[in-house]
């Protein structure tokens, strides 16, 4: 599948613009401030119904206007078309239309246009906060299965309810009510853990193959799952995960009452990246870190393709300035063999060697194809 045409209205710097893309690599170049990243942002918005830059839909609307819309035409194999429209106005909720039909449940829509995003922000994925790594898994798994996203939404709600209860009821807590929330916490939380385990298993069976394409030395890279309760990642069934979760939850009951917050569950998960069994955080160099992040994004693409049966659009925002020649050519090699990708850059001639590409040049927020 690929995105054929994109129409933006009042989106950031674009009042009304039509952009035509090709299958394959699309290079979006131009000076700073012309809206290159905004184009990627709008594609991501249409795919995941939210921005990667702003948490407030209002901020995306062009100055002095009261709505924005993103309209995309997707072409599948065998000439099958799909049209998706996402719009938001200050006096209405976000609206989503798929082939002119209104979609009420966004979670059932996410994954229809899968995409993988790589920005400079992702360079913090390995070294930064655990929430970055959970978010990496959540965005990916939500696109693999609408069920994951719904479980996640329910789970987050349950954690909030539970935290509120822990905060209020420290003196005279109602054990029956707490158990009613615990039962759901364990149920939804275990399904989330189960899906994460599957993805981590996939990463571990493929990570070396791709990492060593970028590296001169043969290194053993692995991903270790650090859940907040003990599990046996290789063999545990969902029932066993629930049992372990419940057991640990009972054990920390008094700690939770003292801390007044939910301390066990997938919202406290983390991943450790290991190089020859040593922590990447401490032993990885800057260059190795960049390689690892590129590889993680490639694995994300592969996993979504594998599970969703649709190849995600690759969105790469301004990252090529940060990479050296060998990493650039390794990444471009990968992109050349997969469906559609979008690259923003200020330095257009970095990509001169690419034979099969679509050049889009932005100046004064209008478009020149080249």
């Amino acid at each position: 599948m690929y995105l054929q045409k994109l129409t933006l209205k009042n989106f950031r710097v674009f009042s009304d613009i039509d952009i035509t893309f090709k299958n394959g690599i699309n290079i979006i170049s131009g000076p700073n401030g012309q809206g290159k990243t905004s184009i990627l942002e709008s594609i991501y918005y249409l795919a995941l119904t939210r921005s990667f830059r702003s948490t407030n839909d209002k901020n995306v609307i062009m100055f002095n206007n009261d709505y924005f819309s993103i309209n995309g035409d997707i072409l599948f194999e065998k000439n099958k078309h799909m049209n998706a429209i996402l719009s938001y106005s200050t006096n209405e909720k976000k609206q989503l239309y798929l082939n002119k039909k209104k979609i009420d449940k966004f979670s059932a829509y996410v994954g229809k246009i899968p995409c993988v995003l790589l920005t400079l922000n992702d360079l913090k994925l390995t070294m930064g906060l655990p929430s970055n790594r959970r978010n990496f898994m959540d965005v990916l798994l939500s696109q693999v299965s609408p069920v994951y996203l719904q479980n996640l939404k329910s789970y987050k709600k349950i954690v909030q309810h539970r935290n509120k209860l822990l905060n209020e009821n420290s003196d005279n807590h109602d054990q029956n009510q707490m158990e009613a929330w615990n039962k759901q916490l364990v149920e939804y939380g275990s399904y989330i853990v189960n899906d994460r385990i599957k993805f981590i298993g996939f990463m571990n069976s493929n990570i070396n193959k791709y990492y060593n394409k970028f590296s001169d030395f043969k290194e053993d890279i692995s991903v270790k799952y650090n859940p907040s309760f003990k599990i046996n990642s290789d063999s545990d069934s969902i029932q066993e995960i629930m049992k372990h979760f419940q057991k640990k939850l009972n054990k920390v009951k008094f700690v939770e009452e003292e801390k007044r917050t939910t301390i066990i569950g997938p919202h406290r998960d983390d991943l450790d990246f290991l190089k020859d069994n040593k922590s990447f955080k401490e032993y990885g160099s800057q260059g190795e870190n960049k390689t690892l992040i590129i590889v993680l994004k490639i694995l994300e693409w592969l996993y979504v393709t594998n599970q969703n049966k649709k190849s995600p659009l690759m969105l790469l925002d301004d990252i090529f300035g940060e990479l050296d020649r060998s990493r650039i050519s390794g990444l471009l090699n990968f992109l050349d063999g997969i469906g559609q990708s979008f690259i923003t850059t200020t330095i257009k001639n970095k990509f001169n060697d690419l034979s099969n590409k679509n050049d889009i040049y932005l100046e004064n927020s209008s478009i020149v194809y080249g």
């Binding site: 329910s154 709600k157 039962k183």
Partner: protein, 201 residues
């Protein structure tokens, strides 16, 4: 324009806007309609609102709405008083009654447990339900509570409290709605549906 002025029109718009499901624009439209209406119609509307407030009360048994002490359903000798259907709200009774499938009586909780919304079990008509459940004539308690995280918590909570009474406790089948696709239903729902599966008739 007129909205910022402190006059009777903007007051009426504010009051209408307060109602659930009435946005600012709808409130305006209603207000202008009332202005164009003749005075008799307008006072009839005002009268209807006041009358409903003075006459409607809650049934002292099930908390449905009524104009006497007990509601029409509790008062109806044709209803099967051995089954109590527990619902969150009065509107749920209307929905179930429309189906014509249920012959028992009701109990309205007045919401679902929600720490975030500040609704604790004490805010709901749970004590009254437990008292009713002690009655030897009551054989079954049917929990017809909305399938949400809050509804589920309420259901788990009630089933714990009701257990000592040794009644049959049931819940309405939930989960996969007619015409839906299984791939879009969350694991929790599917899991529960599989646990509570039944034989094909």
């Amino acid at each position: 324009m007129f909205e910022n002025e402190n006059n009777s029109l903007s007051y009426l718009i504010d009051q209408l806007h307060r109602l659930p499901g009435i946005g600012r624009k709808t409130a305006q439209r209603l207000a202008f309609h009332i202005i164009k209406d003749n005075i008799e119609d307008a006072s009839e509307l005002a009268h209807a609102i006041l009358e409903v407030k003075s006459k409607i009360r809650y049934c002292n048994q099930c908390f449905n709405i009524t104009e006497s002490d007990k509601c029409n359903i509790c008062n109806n000798p044709g209803r099967d008083a051995s089954t109590i259907c527990v619902v969150e709200d009065i509107v749920d009774i209307i929905a179930i009654e429309k189906s014509n499938e249920y012959q028992g009586i009701y109990h309205v909780l007045g919401g679902a447990i929600s720490p975030l919304a500040g609704i604790s079990p004490d805010d709901l008509h749970i004590k009254e339900l437990l008292i009713r459940s002690q009655d030897a004539d009551v054989k079954e308690i049917l929990l017809a509570i909305n399938p949400s995280t809050e509804g589920e918590a309420t259901m788990i909570y009630l089933s714990k409290l009701l257990k000592p009474y040794n009644k049959r406790i049931t819940r309405i089948a939930s989960g996969v709605p007619f015409g839906a696709h299984l791939e879009f239903i969350d694991n929790g729902t599917i899991g529960r549906d599989i646990i509570s599966r039944r034989d094909v008739e």
